[in-house]
């Protein structure tokens, strides 16, 4: 078996501040061509205490070294469940850097911003087509902000009808941010249990006239399609509620089924997942929101509208819940998503979803029987195992850490919470059978090591730059910034 991971020359690197040397300079500004000006001295600070002084080469070497301590999708397989870590096409990066697109100020009058506005409009239209919604707003900066926007829209719709509903139903298979979002919208959260997928009976038992909405994730965080979704939406609507869908897992459904057609009222997209914007070690993302016709007036603004000739930044409607960001959203991320959709076309998107689902099921077939599979219904683009059958006193965390020694980024662990010791694998469509086989061989080898030599897992990782980190002390005695010690 091939072990992808190996250890090579990895260089140490201090913190920026520990390199600093008074008088070093890493920039050059033009000579001032107007008279100098001064502010009243009581407004001005002394020098910025602690700010570094470095040359350009210091900075370049510093960050180049730091980069080598990271694992990215371009380094290798990154099966982080629910995160859709697919390969990010390089042309998307070139697109976002086209000077006319990267350099435009957000307050540029619409008639001088037609290029960007047309692209935003095309993306709005494509996302509406992919999801089956009447309209999409592009503004929210991330999935969680899209959720907030969507739930505000739902609340605004209820308020406009004079309906005073106070609760939101959230299944245990929904995404982690959903309860916090509902609570930010002023709602009380009612958790509901599911057995893999949500049943009509369970929703029916909770659905009364105090419930404003149901928030589902579909496919859910177990990688399962919510098979009863149509009936559930019908029931929620009959009882005066709306259905919110967390679209983080849309990668399984492009060209196959559309949430808007299932009866869902509001959904956010994660452009950085489904539409291949690199995640940047923690953002930026973008979280556009699609809604049905009747919810359009409440959408946060501004959006982009087209009158047949020119594109305009739309002034938010009177009923709009307002704006989510200072400007028009993470436009650089939108450009990447547009480039991705444009590169694949409709058939290509469908093919991507099919291959994502094929890959997840292939991993499932290879690891079933080696790791416990808590849900046996058909998986879509991700598959959940648990550590139930693992031997040698080893747990999910130990498998994850051992995978690092084999050269892989571990899957998502201990999520979703409904599966004890969850191992959530999402291979995505951009991985070949060869990569999946190597990864599965590693997973199988690790299960064997747990049985025969558990210390290998318990001590892992041993080949990474740092070993297991002490997270308990970090939280107990938080040290959140560097400070000079004299």
């Amino acid at each position: 078996m091939t072990i992808v991971g190996t250890s090579g020359l990895v260089l140490n690197e201090k913190l920026l501040f520990e390199h600093s040397d008074p008088g070093r300079k890493g920039y050059s500004l033009p000579k001032l061509d107007v008279p100098a000006a001064e502010l009243p001295s009581d407004l001005c600070r002394e020098e910025i205490d602690g700010f570094p002084e470095l040359s350009e080469v210091d900075v370049v070497r510093h960050f180049t070294r730091l980069s080598t301590w990271n694992y990215g999708v371009d380094s290798g397989f990154y099966p982080l469940g629910s995160c859709t870590m697919k390969y990010n096409p390089k042309v998307n990066e070139a697109v976002a850097r086209i000077p006319g697109l990267a350099g435009i100020h957000p307050a540029t009058p619409s008639h001088l911003a037609q290029g960007t506005l047309e692209l935003m409009h095309r993306l709005q239209v494509d996302l509406a087509e992919i999801s089956g919604f009447a309209k999409v707003t592009l503004q929210p900066a991330a999935g969680a902000q899209g959720e907030l926007a969507g739930m505000l829209v739902i609340r605004a719709w209820h308020e406009a009808r004079g309906s005073k509903r106070s609760k939101v139903l959230i299944p245990d298979t929904a995404h982690g941010t959903n309860p916090a979002t509902a609570s930010l919208t002023g709602y009380d959260v009612v958790p509901i249990a599911s057995d893999g997928v949500l049943t009509l009976e369970e929703v029916e038992a909770h659905m009364d006239d105090s419930v404003a909405a149901l928030m589902v994730t579909n496919p859910n965080t177990l990688g399962l399609f919510e098979t009863n979704i149509e009936e559930i939406c019908k029931l929620v609507h009959e009882r005066g509620g709306l259905v919110y869908c967390d679209g983080a897992n849309l990668n399984a459904l492009m060209g196959i089924a559309r949430p808007g057609d299932m009866g869902i009222d509001v959904m956010h997209f994660n452009l950085h997942k489904t539409f291949s914007t690199p995640h940047g070690g923690g953002g930026p993302g973008a979280g556009p929101v699609g809604v049905t016709e009747e919810l359009i007036p409440y959408l946060p603004g501004p959006g982009v509208e087209f009158d047949g000739e020119t594109y305009q930044i739309e002034t938010p409607k009177t009923d709009s819940v307002g704006r989510m960001l200072a400007f028009h959203g993470n436009v650089g991320v939108m450009l990447r998503a547009y480039a991705y959709i444009r590169s694949l076309g409709g058939e290509g998107l469908k093919h991507a979803s099919e291959m994502a689902v094929l890959n997840a099921n292939y991993v499932r077939a290879r690891l079933e029987g080696v790791y416990d599979l808590p849900y046996t219904s058909r998986s879509l683009h991700e598959v959940i195992f648990s550590d139930k059958d693992l031997e040698g006193g080893c747990h999910t965390l130990d498998v994850a850490k051992r995978l690092i020694d084999y050269g892989y980024h571990p899957p998502t662990i201990y999520f979703p919470l409904v599966v004890k010791g969850a191992i959530m694998i999402e291979p995505t469509e951009t991985e070949s059978q060869e990569v999946l086989d190597e990864f599965c061989d590693a997973m199988i080898a690790i299960a064997g090591e747990a049985r025969d030599n558990p210390e290998l897992l318990l001590q892992a990782p041993v080949r990474s730059r740092v070993r297991r980190l002490d997270e308990t002390t970090a939280a107990r005695k938080p040290k959140l910034r560097w400070q000079e010690t004299t």
Binding site: G103, V466, R467
Partner: protein, 449 residues
Amino acid sequence: MRYIPHTAGDVTQMLERIGVATLEDLFVEVPESVRLKRPLDIQEPASETELLRELKSLALGNATPETHKSFLGGGAYHHFIPTVIDLLISRSEFYTAYTPYQPEISQGTLQAVFEFQTLICQLTGMDAANASMYDGASACAEAVLMAMRLTRRKKVLLSKALNPRYRGVVATYCRYLNMELVDVAVAADGRTDLEDLAAKLDDSTAVVVAGYPNYFGVIEDVAALAEKSHQHGAKLVTAVAEPIALGLLKSPGELGADIVAGDAQSFGLPLAFGGPYVGFFAVRQKDVRGMPGRLVGETTDLEGQRGFVLTLATREQHIRREKATSNICSNQGLCALMATIFMSLLGKQGLREMAEQNLAKAAYARKQLSGIKGFSLVFDGPAFNEFVVRSEAPVAEVLSRLEAAGILGGIPLGEDYPEMADCFLVCVTEQNQREEIDALVAALQGGAA
């Protein structure tokens, strides 16, 4: 399809291993009734060449500082971007990584975030900063929510001179949380009116929010705002949309702010029509556990080596669910890295020098503009790199005359401030050469550009 490696042979082999006959069979759980029975109505795929040609051609429909002399600011600023930044963030180990959930193989991201947190603390004069927020406006809204949690009060005083888009986002975030938003007037000098503030502050006030510099480019008296707020047990949030100013101005921390929220777009991020930018958020030590967003902390590994981890996650939504301090999850990681690299390169002297250049250029422009017939300066408070101009001729006419001369002259204020329909906001940075400023002056005088 160049992003997908499967050959037809692979697909057959894999289906066989799974034990199904066709790809269709993988989707049996998706009911027939919700299946899409037609192809998606999306344009035919474009090759790489076609895509680039198409987008470059669309980009020609945009006006940028490369095609026009630009004096647009108002929360997004055209500044010098060192070449190094894009090259370093293009290291794919940085930009193709996810949130650092596995610290052993994410130390690059984690250390860089720790450095970002430190630099933001130094810049703002605060004790602790988080790993970033979506932008300055949403950071400002989160600051209001945090102040509400800390004080258990519901009244929010927002300066009218705070960026109106920040004010808008605060209103959106507070919409259904039973909070009372009250405007504080602007005084004749362009600063927040301290008398009006005093009249509206009371023991139910959770927070006072003001810009620094404010939307009109005027430098607020933060010490006075803090003193008045604190007298009533209210928190002061200082919103910084133009952090270059902090290269020169006293830090909000030194002046008594409780929370500093702002946007670091000025630190090496392209304008990009409004995003992605990067919000920052800094607080006092005692409030660390109440702050929203991710935090990176220093620790050690099994062998005693220094390392970094995501920490204090118990504040966050995946642990505390509906009781979390915020729902923010993905933030602006790569943008925070850009700002970190920018601050590292500019350092102590560079940021000061850049701030001084901004101040001098704007002061020069103010002086030149104030002498033009038909135009006047509206506020006389101390200003940084932006200022408000009042025009006797209709603003729309003036700005389109400037456009014809290849100049984006400013942002009309009428939409956000109906009482200032005859005003526009002009921003001058170190990127505007003297000739550009002179051209603006000449065009306003009615002369040729």
